[in-house]
């Protein structure tokens, strides 16, 4: 879950908090200092510098609108960060991706970045268990950008969709690019299927693989509940991906950590 330049006192999704309502003043202060680092970089100033000099001046106006609208949402911690959106856009252009997939949409910032990068007849199969954030926040911006026609949105868990795709051999090796920004405890299940759906030479990007930097914290370090819960899955994921000789790999500290896997065989 990439942190953004959004208000750090934003609450986390209800099911992942131990409280059931608005935090008290003292708790809000604690949360603020906990997410004091809005990025994985040595200072917030450095991250801001990158955003202000290289990212924001080049950000499509519809992406800016979507980013700002998302910042007002209580779950905005889940969004893809602006620097990551720019990076994904570049990757897609570099490989000339046309047929793409996104697992985990939220409001749709990375979805819009992808839609803007693929050609006019490019496609994105987008999956999320919740359609509402995309419909109310993302879709208006995506329509305004003139790229909504590229998106095929499926509401519901991703695994059944992937399994259905695999049932038809024509889908094997048909995708150029996939971005996975979803439930970390299922990443390896997605990976198993994506390795058949992505073409040789195609690219998969797994988001949040540095998990707020918690991958290097000792087990007894103070951590938010949801960070601690998913941390083990992320650690195992990183190990498994690094050992998978079917992919060429690279892990970058963009956003909350993105691991690129290029299918080599």
């Amino acid at each position: 879950m990439a942190t953004t330049a959004a208000d750090a006192t934003a609450t986390v999704p209800k099911e992942q908090t131990t409280t059931n309502g608005a935090a008290s003043g003292a708790e809000q202060v604690t949360r603020h200092s906990e997410v004091g680092h809005k990025s994985l970089l040595q200072s917030d100033a450095l991250y801001q510098y990158i955003l202000e000099t290289t990212v924001y001046p080049r950000e499509h106006e519809c992406m800016k609108q979507l980013r700002e609208d998302t910042a007002n949402h209580p779950w905005n911690l889940m969004t893809t960060s602006a620097d990551e959106g720019q990076f994904l856009n570049l990757l897609i252009k570099l490989i000339g991706a046309k047929k793409t997939m996104e697992i985990g949409v939220y409001t749709g910032y990375s979805l819009l970045a992808t839609a803007l990068a693929i050609p006019e007849d490019g496609t994105i199969l987008a999956m999320d268990i919740n359609r509402e954030n995309y419909e109310t926040i993302g879709k208006p911006c995506i329509e305004k950008a003139g790229v909504a026609h590229k998106i095929d949105f499926r509401e519901g868990p991703a695994l059944p969709v992937l399994d259905a795709l695999l049932d038809d051999e024509a889908n094997h090796g048909s995708f150029d690019f996939v971005f996975v920004d979803a439930d970390k405890d299922n990443y390896l299940n997605y990976h198993q299927r994506l390795m058949k759906l992505v073409r040789v030479g195609g690219l998969i990007g797994y988001d949040n693989t540095l998990w707020n930097g918690s991958v290097v914290l000792p087990d007894d370090a103070p951590m938010r509940k949801y960070i601690r819960y998913y941390r083990d899955f992320v650690l195992v994921l990183n190990k498994e991906l690094a050992a998978d000789d079917r992919v060429e790999i690279c892990q970058l500290p963009v956003g909350d950590g993105i691991t690129l896997c290029r299918r080599a065989k």
Partner: protein, 248 residues
């Protein structure tokens, strides 16, 4: 990095953040990336050259292991065949590039001196069977690039270029590279975040040299950001890598 005589290795001012090996929030996090994803995949010859380079007094000038892993991936993604490297030093990133290129691929490698390469890199490159891919041109980069531009058939010939040399000339190299690299090709510039000092507050203690180079980096970054001939992306790996995909 090309040797410039005075050398642009990062001699950090006491107390500045330039002492850190990484732009990340902790060295442990950087080490984690290296240990989990980089080193297990590092080819033996590249490891050998990386370790041999540490014996050099200016070892800080070398590219970082995570950076060269990224370049290998980018080269494969691009289907690159022809590359340029401005600034060679011992040849660590040069070897990584050569390994990623196909057997009939070529990298034009430019450095004002080939001493470090001949002494440390070349034997490893030979042993790795990559020497035939390397076209080494000794000289100051600007005249060599101008010569390359003037050669027949070089316009838009190159798929990938990596510049790790004298920062004050980066914008000059950029103009030449935009003619040599194809539309859709990639140029990568190193040290564009200069230890993070590009974002340092005015009262931070920096050496004169770091202050000057941070300013050069800021100006270069601003120029690239405004350059519509390229699509840009700044990565906080190594000392800051600015990726530029030529779009026009």
């Amino acid at each position: 990095m090309a040797a410039t005589g005075a050398g642009e290795g990062k001699k950090a001012a006491a107390g500045s953040s330039l002492h850190s090996k990484t732009l990340l929030k902790s060295e442990q996090l950087y080490q984690y990336i290296l240990d989990s994803t980089v080193f297990p995949r590092e080819p033996d010859c590249l490891r050998e050259l990386r370790i041999a380079t540490t014996t050099h007094p200016m070892a800080g000038m070398a590219a970082s292991p995570d950076q060269v892993q990224l370049f290998g991936l980018l080269i494969n993604m691009l289907g690159a065949k022809n590359a340029i490297e401005v600034g060679v030093f011992t040849g660590y990133s040069l070897l990584a590039t050569a390994l990623a290129l196909p057997d009939d691929g070529k990298v034009v490698a430019i450095d004002v001196s080939r001493e470090s390469y001949d002494k440390i890199g070349s034997p490893v490159v030979e042993k790795a069977g990559m020497a035939h891919k390397i076209d080494f041109r000794v000289g100051f980069a600007l005249p060599v690039l101008d010569q390359l531009v003037a050669e027949d058939g070089t316009s838009g010939k190159f798929d990938f270029a990596f510049v790790d040399a004298d920062k004050a000339n980066f914008h000059h190299y950029h103009e030449r590279l935009l003619r040599l690299v194809r539309v859709g090709g990639l140029i990568a510039y190193d040290n564009t975040l200069w230890g993070g000092s590009v974002a340092a507050p005015d009262d931070e203690t920096l050496s004169e040299r770091d202050r000057e180079l941070a300013q050069i980096a800021r100006e270069f970054n601003a120029a690239l950001s405004g350059d519509r001939r390229v699509q840009v992306c700044q990565l906080a790996i190594s000392d800051g890598i600015m990726l530029c995909c030529r779009v026009a």
